[in-house]
Amino acid sequence: MTHLAKKSYLTLKKVEHKFVRTQVLQNISFSLPTGKVYALVGPSGCGKTTLLHLCNGLLDLQDGVIENTFTNTASMFQQPRLLPWKTCLDNMTLGLKAKGWGKKDRNLKALKLATLVGLQPSDLEKFPHQLSGGMQSRVALARALLLEPDLLLLDEPFSALDIGLKTELYQLLLEQQTQRNLAVLMITHDLMEAVRLCDRILLMNSKPGCLAASFKLTRPAHLRDDAWVYQTTAELLQQPVVRKSFSLPALTNLDPVGSTTQEWSHMC
């Protein structure tokens, strides 16, 4: 076990990106190791999606270095992005088909995973438009997990769902993350979501997009109860650097929430 579990990294060094002449990303550097969950948090339009597209190869790198030593990278997008003319089963197994798996093998594997993410076998025969948004997201999640990735790039995949579904799907995702020791880089503009799920929060400023701060959350994810999440989110929201990034007005009360937990550390 131990000698197989080699550490992989997704490392970004001084990544810059321009669209025509607008600087979108400036001097982004961080390193995401195996088994960690990092969140990119920032206001809309700060270049989070661009950064993720650079990581999964949908955009060509212009400047800087991106080193990805993970063997299998899977992505989830803001929408489920299922092929409307394929059944859910065929959508789930698309990646396996691309790798040359036979129909029987890939369907067998998909059926096993489907129950784990809460899909009924009867749902699998349906076309995407016959399923609710939540179900479609489950199919998209299963499609990503079927590839047995060791790095998962998430671009707010559940942002269109209600808060209950969102929590449920993130729980599912985290279970898989701990079981498989996945590295996850997720985008969100919901600070509380990031506090609940992540080991480290990378805060981005916009225009041009750059890393403003990095918060390390020390309490393990499975020990975070609601009270802790609310408290920590409030504490982070009092940080001037966070308020500046989201263009929030300055605090009127100097210390509305006492900093009691302090189970996070502010870097850079």
Binding site: N56, G57, L58, A74, S75, F77, Q79, R81, L83, P84, W85, K86, L94, G95, K97, A98, F127, P128, H129, Q130, L147
Partner: protein
């Protein structure tokens, strides 16, 4: 194979749903009867007279032979249009410049009345097969071309990105991502072109040829034979209805199952 089994499975239910359509068609026949009784058989032959004429034309082989001739012309023109229209349309759709350049040209072609093409075709091809084939081709080509162009231009970029991130091989990109989308635009265009071709070919034959359904219709008219005229018209319409509802509609239902919203 799967498609065929699926079509056959749903066929009885589909045929049973046809009773409503047959009822409304019979109502039309009733109105026809009333009108012909009011104006007399010379103006509009009665349905039963038409049926008798139809049977006679069928038994002396005039009707089937004419239908085959006409069908051959319509299909050859249509086939050419499908082939060239689809090919060129897709090519034009791939390049932005080509699609911008071809749009006004195709609009001109679409706006040009088929009868104008027929006049030109008669000058160029005379009374040969060339006239109806060319007219069908030139009238249906722009419809197919536009369908293919739209299909190729509107390929969903989000799905494209997803497929790229999944590292789908080129062949899978083509068959699983591009073609199903393009086909959803192409198929309706093909069906519309088929209906169009059948109407155009009869018109072309009526004016240009010595044989075929159109020519026979012209002869019946010159003999003031209202019953035979109606018989020919019925033959044309029935054949088109048959193709549309027994052949194309079931295929369409299967192929586009993913589009149907169960509202």
């Amino acid at each position: 194979m799967h498609l065929l089994r699926s079509i056959l499975g749903e066929l009885p239910g589909y045929l049973w749903s046809g009773w409503g359509a047959i009822c409304s068609l019979l109502l039309l026949v009733a109105v026809w009867q009333l009108v012909s009784e009011h104006y007399g058989s010379l103006v509009l032959a009665q349905p039963l007279e038409t049926l008798a004429s139809f049977q006679q034309l069928w038994s002396n082989h005039t009707l089937p032979e004419a239908l085959i001739t006409t069908g051959r012309r319509a299909l050859s023109g249509l086939f050419l249009a499908l082939l060239l229209g689809t090919g060129l349309g897709l090519l034009a759709g791939i390049s932005l410049t080509a699609s911008m350049m071809s749009r006004p040209l195709v609009t001109v072609l679409l706006g040009m009345p088929p009868i104008a093409w027929l006049v030109l075709a008669m000058l160029w091809f005379g009374a040969s097969d060339g006239t109806p084939v060319f007219t069908v081709f030139i009238a249906t080509f722009p419809m197919v071309f536009i369908g293919a162009l739209q299909g190729a231009r509107t390929v969903d970029n989000q799905l494209n990105e997803m497929a790229q991130a999944m590292q789908l091989p080129k062949l899978m990109m083509l068959f699983d991502v591009y073609l199903p989308h393009i086909f959803s635009y192409l198929f309706p265009a093909w069906v519309a072109a088929l209906g169009m071709s059948w109407k155009i070919v009869v018109m072309a034959e009526l004016l240009a040829n010595q044989d075929g359904v159109g020519a026979s219709l012209a002869i019946a008219r010159s003999h003031l034979d209202s019953a035979a005229s109606m018989a020919w018209i019925c033959a044309v319409v029935l054949l088109l209805l048959g193709i549309e509802y027994l052949f194309l509609e079931p295929i369409k239902r299967q192929v586009e199952r993913w589009r149907v919203t169960d509202a």
